[in-house]
């Protein structure tokens, strides 16, 4: 019962985004033991930002990007063409499925993709637009 009550209290504090001692203190009932109330509030305040970050990290989401590796190659020949010099890019993205669905065994899948110069430029253009949007939103 005790653990459950503490759990509820901390969840409530994180949910409401309470950051001030007064707000947390007034959650306790009137006759609550004074020192215990202060101690609990102190501990909660110390941990609040870590808990909030964890709440953000564990919310429902699409699969997350966890790693990316890349390499630039030059194709010099193949069974159909004897000589050529075609630069190409190999990209490997490691994507982790929704943490909430996988519990303690997150599933990480690797997506390997080849990009030519044209497709890479398309990507860059798209990413540039995201960056512009981000700055526009940040400046508001």
């Amino acid at each position: 019962q005790l653990v459950s009550a503490l759990h509820n209290l901390t969840r409530h504090v994180v949910y409401r985004g309470l950051t001030r001692a007064e707000d947390i203190l007034c959650l306790f009932p009137e006759k609550f033991h004074q020192n215990l109330k202060n101690l609990l509030t102190k501990i909660i305040l110390e941990n609040i930002s870590a808990w909030r970050n964890e709440a953000q990290a564990n919310q429902i989401s699409l699969p997350r990007l966890v790693d990316m590796d890349w390499r630039v190659d030059i194709k010099t020949s193949s069974d159909s063409i004897a000589r050529m010099a075609v630069p190409t890019c190999l990209l490997q993205l490691k994507i982790q499925e929704d943490a909430a669905l996988c519990g303690n065994n997150p599933v990480v899948s690797a997506l390997t993709v080849e990009l030519s110069k044209e497709t890479l430029d398309t990507m860059l253009e798209g990413l540039g637009r995201i960056r512009d949007q981000l700055s526009a939103v940040a400046n508001k």
């Binding site: 919310q59 699409l62 997350r64 990007l65 190999l90 990209l91 993709v113």
Partner: protein, 187 residues
């Protein structure tokens, strides 16, 4: 595969063959099996995407082998007929028509794009969002970027892969791509 082919209505089968030939001709990056499957299902035919993928692969192999051996339409049809389980008449008709029209072109197109050992990038769609609230946090205000990559796998099937990035991750992502582009320039 022959029994499953039986299930597919003629016009969808024709569309599938068209896409496969166009992919082999490098006119399109891949075959959009998922989209085709959904349309077939909407029309009331019960076919699952695994079966459709197998059929697409079989047809792709059939067409590319025929191209490599320079088979004429008649030779192709004869080979089909001598297989273990005969294809339904409408399927043979479609294959004959498609091969007549575009089969010769496959043999002629050779280029650097022929060696796909990994997926080929087709397209990228993105979304910038802010998570306002969740069951754990009433006031989140957490920005994130969602990206959907459309990739054609080595067999030619097109799939989508979606994932999220935090803003710092996105900045790193962008930086890496700029680096890749500059290396590609100088190489």
């Amino acid at each position: 595969a022959a029994d499953k082919i039986r299930l597919i209505p003629q016009d969808f089968f024709a569309e599938l063959c068209e896409q496969i030939i166009q992919h082999l001709n490098h006119k399109i990056p891949g075959v959009n099996t998922a989209e085709l499957c959904q349309r077939i299902q909407t029309s009331g035919v019960d076919v699952n995407i695994g079966d459709l993928a197998k059929i697409a692969n079989t047809l792709s192999f059939l067409f590319s082998t025929a191209a490599r051996n320079n088979l004429s339409t008649e030779e192709l049809i004869t080979t089909l007929g001598s297989g273990v389980s005969p294809l339904p008449k409408h399927a043979v008709q479609v294959i004959r028509h498609v091969w007549n029209e575009q089969g010769k072109a496959i043999a002629a197109s050779e280029d650097a794009g022929n060696m796909a050992t990994v997926g080929q990038f087709v397209d990228m769609k993105w979304k910038l969002g802010v998570a306002m609230s969740s069951d754990t946090c009433r006031s989140l205000k957490y920005p994130y970027v969602t990206v959907t990559l459309t990739v054609a796998d080595p067999s030619g099937q097109i799939t989508d892969k979606s994932f999220e990035m935090t803003i710092p991750q996105f900045k790193n992502f962008f930086r890496q791509f700029k680096e890749m582009a500059s290396v590609l320039e100088t190489v």
